[in-house]
């Protein structure tokens, strides 16, 4: 067990964690932030995407202890019902989600694109390469990100 101090969604959290604990499991099991999803064992699906010091990472591929001293933002920290982030608003308006399981990771990955700005449809498709969706055929996800980028 090791001591972990990490700022999650703006709140400093101090915990004792097993060294092998993945960041995704720490967020879900220790902090109860279950908005971050786990959809595969091999870092393909991207459902677990969170921001680590402002950059999107697949939290199933980061040890919790690697986030020691860092700042993490999860889907719960992006917006809330009634005060949605503009990406969440765009996903809602454009029907960019169906079952919703890939959605938190997809939105966290796309949030990084907004920072980059000025992306066209092709560039958005390329940029979302690390996130899988099985419901939407990506059509409305791409449209939602385009709308939020505009």
């Amino acid at each position: 067990m090791s001591r972990l101090v990490v700022t999650v969604n703006g709140v400093e959290r101090a915990s004792e964690v097993e060294d092998r604990t993945l960041l995704a499991d720490y967020l879900r099991d220790d902090l109860g932030l279950t908005g971050t999803k786990i959809g595969c064992d091999t870092s393909q699906c991207g459902a677990c995407t969170v921001h680590l010091d402002g950059r999107p990472v697949k939290s199933c591929t980061v040890l919790a202890l690697q986030a020691d001293g860092s700042s993490v933002v999860t889907i719960e920290g992006l917006g809330a019902a009634g005060a949605l982030h503009r990406l969440q608003e765009a996903f809602w308006a454009r029907h960019g989600l169906q079952c919703g399981f890939c959605t938190p990771g997809m939105i966290m990955a796309a949030a990084d694109l907004l920072e980059q700005g000025g992306l066209d449809e092709r560039a958005i498709r390329e940029a979302l390469d690390g996130n899988l969706c099985r419901c939407t055929g990506y059509e409305n996800i791409v449209r939602a990100v385009e709308e939020a980028c505009a």
Binding site: L84, Q98, D129, N140
Partner: protein, 794 residues
């Protein structure tokens, strides 16, 4: 009339209403199975067979039982008192040789991934650690993974109860008439088609959690299920042998399913039994590798087709013989998929005078195969749409023209294709959808562009798929035991209550897992009652508090489940009219219900609102004589027929002649799903379906080696489509309401998957036609296309 009343009157049905379920999904607040944490909950990990075919000589769990955090280790011997899982849909009119899984297998396994032992521990990690300490004494046996090989004499035999590995030998149609028509046809084209095995891959893996109360003998089981009511029935009455009322089943938020979460799985039974054994709540969630080996797969047909046609392109006969690979044991409705939902749809959108289909279902040492999005209908559409293109090619005719010449014409409905066991296609205008799709795709100008590209050494191709499919699966008497062999009914139910405050609660027996029932059912209820959408709440997915329903699959929740909502609302309105008339001191025969108000015909200025009537009904101070309090009614809807959506999809591809890579340049879909409740949701269903069908054509395929090891056992090896591989999808609709139900809706969940696969394959074959390539089997990966190109050139 006030502006507010005007706003209420705006029709919700037909509008792209934003989904009411989305805020919780967008913010990470929705609770899926794995997000559940019960007080004192332990975690389950399952030891799975590494062998495709083996006997279990013995299992030593001593070391695992002593491992840190372990609360118990269990094998199949611990659950021998539980029955094997039921097979609820056996092929009709023929003998079925049924072998189904148990909670844990006891002495033999027939596929890699079959569960043989389980550990319960304080944490998931401890449970997985302990799995490695279980020692199984295996005796491996020869395996067979291919259905055609499994049918051969001398093939390894999987089950004593299934001689020759045969699950069933089923047929439909007229064998003699087909033989005669083929003999008399101007041309007969034959082709072997492989419809490869697919892995459904919802992004949320499967899981279950359970708790048991010894004082009452009651189980509560949470599960990732498309059909919680059916799960409860199957688990209690068929596996545990206990009253149905001693179990509550709940599907929390479910993260996609595509058919794979319809079925009763061994793990659901296991988790419920373990909760009782260890005396505390337990949870199990599969890893993606488990999802790939132990959750059902789809398709896996090898088909030999012969299609006979006249010189003018009219089809005279279709003969189909299919080997359907059903895996190592049977999943819940496995035999029904390649029979009723496949063979009976082989007429497609066409008048085909003679059809005969024979299907041999086989056991092999592979994972279970059952319904996957479309379920039998994609396989049938693939056969029919490839056959039409083969005929066009053989006769040198335009594939669009061949389709046109064979279409069931608009004035022929209801149309009995002769092999639907008494059902008829409801409504349709197939040519209208074809014409619109061709127009959108620029079909008329495409051939010239294709010629120019060919002159430059570029291979462009265009492919069509004009499909018809069967939705809203029911009616009970047709599908059931005396008909198509389904072991129950297939009606749906809905309860509607208008509370004292005027707020409306709809409970449904169907089970959304991405489709948006909370929105579309509310749209229908709000429109019919004349109340704002925000006043209607839709509750579902818990056997406590919802009426029995068979669940969501087969595109049946609009055409069956939502019609039950509509019917329940009509009953509420009837009662509201009686109470409203009483409040108005009028004769019930003289009042009407319009836009949420009851008034005497011609006197809308003196009206009682549904909210006023609901309050009057709820407090019950002054009701008409003999009238019961409260506005509350339940409807059970069993449709008189299935519904038959249709349309035409067009794919335009370019094949890279050097690498064999296929690029999907454009994709045009014109679907007709009847009346549309929410066009935004229907478009989304079509988009997702197209992506899955395109992926079958080009990328996806489950691959087993000869020993029965699943080589595509993770998302590393199984090629799920990505955003960059797909073009903008160009989706339009025609709208031909069904006359089967009062809403006019047909169903939209599977059309995209059903239509798109042959459109893409037809396009690739069209692109490569100058090289003499007449057919290629899926998936059309760069390697497969490159090899075909190399062979054709040499």
């Amino acid at each position: 009339m006030t502006a507010q009343a005007e706003a209420v009157r705006e029709r919700l049905v037909g509008s792209p209403v934003r989904r009411v379920e989305d805020p919780r999904l967008l913010t990470g607040a929705a609770r899926y199975l794995d997000d559940l944490a019960l007080p004192g909950m332990a975690h389950v990990a399952i030891l799975r067979s590494p062998h495709a075919h083996a006997r279990i000589r013995g299992i030593d769990v001593a070391r695992a039982a002593a491992a840190p955090g372990v609360a118990g280790v269990f094998t199949g011997r611990d659950f021998e008192h539980l029955n094997p899982l039921p097979c609820a849909w056996q092929a009709a009119g023929t003998e079925n040789h049924v072998v189904t899984p148990r909670a844990l297998e006891v002495d033999r396994v027939t596929f890699t991934g079959a569960g043989v032992a389980a550990v319960v521990a304080e944490t998931r990690a401890q449970a997985e650690d302990a799995l490695e300490l279980i020692e199984v004494d295996w005796e491996t046996l020869p395996a067979v993974v291919d259905a055609e090989r499994a049918a051969e004499a001398g093939a390894p035999q999987l089950h004593e109860a299934a001689p020759g590995n045969v699950v069933m030998d089923w047929q439909c149609g007229d064998e003699a008439a087909t033989e005669a028509a083929l003999a008399n046809a101007d041309v007969v084209v034959s082709q072997r088609l492989v419809n490869q095995r697919l892995i459904p891959t919802p992004l949320e893996p499967r899981g279950a959690a359970a708790q048991y109360e010894p004082a009452t003998g009651r189980y509560t089981v949470w599960m990732t299920s498309q059909a919680p009511h059916v799960m409860r029935l199957l688990m209690t009455a068929f596996v545990f042998g206990i009253p149905e009322t001693s179990m509550r089943c709940i599907s929390p938020q479910v993260g996609g399913a595509f058919g794979s979460k319809i079925f009763l799985y061994p793990e659901y039974v296991l988790v419920a039994a373990l909760a009782e054994k260890v005396g505390r709540p337990v949870k199990w969630v599969e890893t993606r590798r488990e999802n790939y080996t132990a959750t059902t797969h789809g398709r896996d047909h090898v088909t030999y087709l012969e299609v006979g046609a006249n010189r003018d392109g009219t089809i005279a006969a279709l003969r189909v013989r299919t080997y359907a690979n059903l895996g190592g044991v049977l999943s819940t409705i496995a035999p029904g998929i390649p029979t009723t939902l496949y063979g009976r749809m082989l007429s497609g959108a066409y008048r085909i005078p003679a059809i005969h289909c024979r299907v041999l279902g086989l056991y092999t040492n592979t994972g279970m195969v059952d319904a996957y999005r479309g379920a039998g209908r994609p396989e049938a559409t693939y056969v029919v749409e490839r056959a039409v293109d083969l005929v066009a090619r053989e006769l040198g005719l335009d594939p669009a023209e061949v389709r046109r010449r064979n279409f069931v014409p608009p004035d022929a409905f209801p149309y009995d294709p002769g092999i639907l066991a008494g059902l008829s296609y409801d409504t349709g205008d197939y040519e209208r959808a074809l014409d619109r799709a061709l127009e959108l795709a620029g079909y008329a100008g495409f051939r010239a562009e294709q010629e120019r590209a060919r002159a430059e050494g570029r291979y462009l191709g265009i492919g069509l798929s004009s499909y018809v499919e069967l939705c809203g699966v029911a009616p009970s008497a047709w599908i059931g035991t005396g008909g198509q062999g389904w072991g129950a009914g297939l009606w749906e139910s809905a309860n509607v209550r208008v509370h004292l405050t005027g707020k409306v609660v709809v409970t449904t027996g169907s089970q959304p897992h991405g489709q948006g029932h909370e929105t579309t059912m509310a749209q229908v209820a709000a429109d019919e009652l004349g109340v704002p959408l925000a006043d209607v709440t839709v509750e579902h997915s818990d056997t406590l508090g919802t009426p029995f329903g068979y669940g969501t699959y087969g595109s049946r929740s609009a055409a069956v489940g939502t019609v039950a909502v509509y019917n329940a609302v009509q009953r509420i309105k009837d009662k509201a009219r009686r109470i409203g008339a009483h409040m108005l001191e009028a004769n019930p025969d003289d009042v009407v219900y319009e836009d949420g108000r009851v008034f005497v015909q011609g006197s809308p200025e003196t009206a009682k609102t549904i909210q006023e009537i609901a309050a009057t009904a709820a407090v019950a101070y002054d009701l008409p004589p003999g009238e019961e309090p409260f506005l509350d009614d339940t409807a059970y809807y069993d449709p008189p027929n299935c519904t038959f959506p249709f349309g035409t999809h067009v794919a335009i591809v370019e094949v890279d002649a050097e690498t064999g890579e296929v690029a999907l340049r454009r994709y045009v879909a014109v679907d007709d799903v009847g009346r549309v409740i929410n066009p935004m949701i229907v478009d989304g269903q079509v988009h997702g379906g197209i992506a899955q069908g395109v992926a079958q054509a080009l990328w996806e395929g489950a691959v087993y080696d000869d020993e029965g090891q699943l080589l595509s056992s993770s998302l590393l090896e199984y090629a799920l489509p990505k955003a960059r591989q797909l073009p903008r999808l160009e989706v339009e609709r025609t709208e031909t309401p069904t006359d089967v139900n009062p809403l006019g809706v047909k169903g939209a969940g599977e059309t995209g998957t059903i239509a798109s696969t042959p459109a893409v394959v037809n396009a690739v074959v069209d692109a490569l036609a100058p090289l003499g390539i007449r057919h290629l089997d899926m998936p059309l990966t760069p390697e497969r296309v490159w090899r075909a190109l190399s062979e054709a050139r040499s």
